[in-house]
Amino acid sequence: MLTRRIIPCLDVRDGRVVKGKKFTDIVDVDDPETLGAFYSEAGADELVFYDITASSEARKISLEFIEKVATRINIPFCVGGGVKTLEDFTEILRKGADKVSINSSAVKTPDLITEASLKFGAQCVVLSMDVKKTQEGQWRVFINGGRIDTGLDALEWAVKGVELGAGELVINSIDADGMKEGYDIPLLKAITDRVGVPVIASGGAGKMADFSEAVLKADVDGVLAASVFHYREIEISTLKADMKRKGIQVRI
């Protein structure tokens, strides 16, 4: 049986791993290949690196971490952050990443999803969405690190993204991110009910039960988290044993 995936997420800036709380108060943790190798050994099923380097000039240098990661680990990994063009896709995949995630640029240029999907295959194209609930109770897509409300309905955008060619969705709840009070189950459930591609939960994991809850209640294919892994609050092997006890298929 296909297993549910445990995915540590590493935010990279200027070639170093950082973790933001609600996208601010950034703290330095470690270098990407060392943390990547650590997680690969620890039983992570996949890794995600988001490059949050501000300027595109600095990004070019920052992205050199991809080659180092590719030679150190033998599990799949995805790279995102600042991806705007097909050339960005080509460069990241050439450096050894297995998937590329797009976020703001997909909203601004939806054709990019289709073009990348046709060129590299849907499995390479991960649509990442930052979602926040408005006061009227609508789930909205935000871009530019959660700063700009696009006005797009998150559920509609998820369906549209898959139609355009995205092979996987990463749903990051801005409301839940960094709060460590669990994933946004209603949001995730609403999305897994509507799409036929893998959905990865992101934002809000604080304790082991949160991971199982996202799988059991929202039927997500993977669960992504950062700080609980970086600060060793949760060990992946212990987490997987816990999920297995709850009847969830995991790779042990």
């Binding site: 296909l2 799949p76 590299f120 092979g167 036929g196």
Partner: protein, 200 residues
């Protein structure tokens, strides 16, 4: 000499690094002259069947691979590379493959989620030097939307995703992995080790 055929699709470095980790030294090349000298030919692959087979044929590599296979060289296909080994594919049209293994490449249909992406377990179907370090239940990493439908004689190990999906296949000196051994952690490394012992 062992060659990874570069037909312009995706990153070959991960595969080369993983092989090197098991003592399998390879060259990356698309030069027919170089590939004609190889005793082991790796066909990697991500992307679409049509692009891959067209690109191979454009350089005359499809004939080179067939000729080498007839002469006894090992041909090892990985993911899309494995699908190329079969007679034909129905991915967005009908395209002839290398015809080294009887069978066809057809779309996965039975499951709600396509592609079949993630870690799935293998069931060993028959003893083979390739499975020396493999145990039924071991997990490997899959990413694909099409699979090989055949008589099944070539199946060494399979996985389940709605139906039986050939995962490791072998017909004489023709070998295929539907998953990515180079991305399959320790299990993948052990499979490449077994492969290395077989082809060295």
């Amino acid at each position: 000499m062992k060659v990874i055929v570069d037909y312009g699709l995706g990153n070959l470095k991960s595969l080369q690094t993983a092989l090197e980790g098991q003592g399998i030294e390879t060259l990356i090349s698309k030069d027919p002259g170089v590939i004609l000298e190889a005793e082991v030919i790796f066909l990697p692959g991500v992307g679409a069947f049509r692009d891959a087979i067209t690109s191979l044929a454009a350089d005359g590599l499809d004939e080179v691979v067939r000729e080498k296979s007839r002469a006894g060289a090992y041909v090892v296909g990985i993911c899309l590379g494995m699908q190329l080994l079969y007679d034909r594919s129905y991915e967005n049209g009908v395209y002839e493959g290398l015809g080294l293994i009887p069978g066809e490449i057809v779309k996965l249909r039975e499951m709600p989620k396509i592609p079949h992406m993630g870690w799935n377990d293998l069931t060993v179907a028959r003893e083979d030097p390739l499975t020396r370090y493999l145990t039924t239940g071991d997990y490997v990493y899959f990413v694909h939307s099409y699979y090989a439908r055949s008589g099944g004689e070539e199946i060494v190990a399979w996985t389940g995703y709605g139906e039986k999906i050939p995962a490791i296949v072998r017909r004489g000196n023709t070998i295929g992995f539907q998953f990515h051994p180079e991305k399959s952690g320790a299990v993948g490394a052990a499979l490449l080790k077994a492969l290395g012992e077989m082809i060295s």
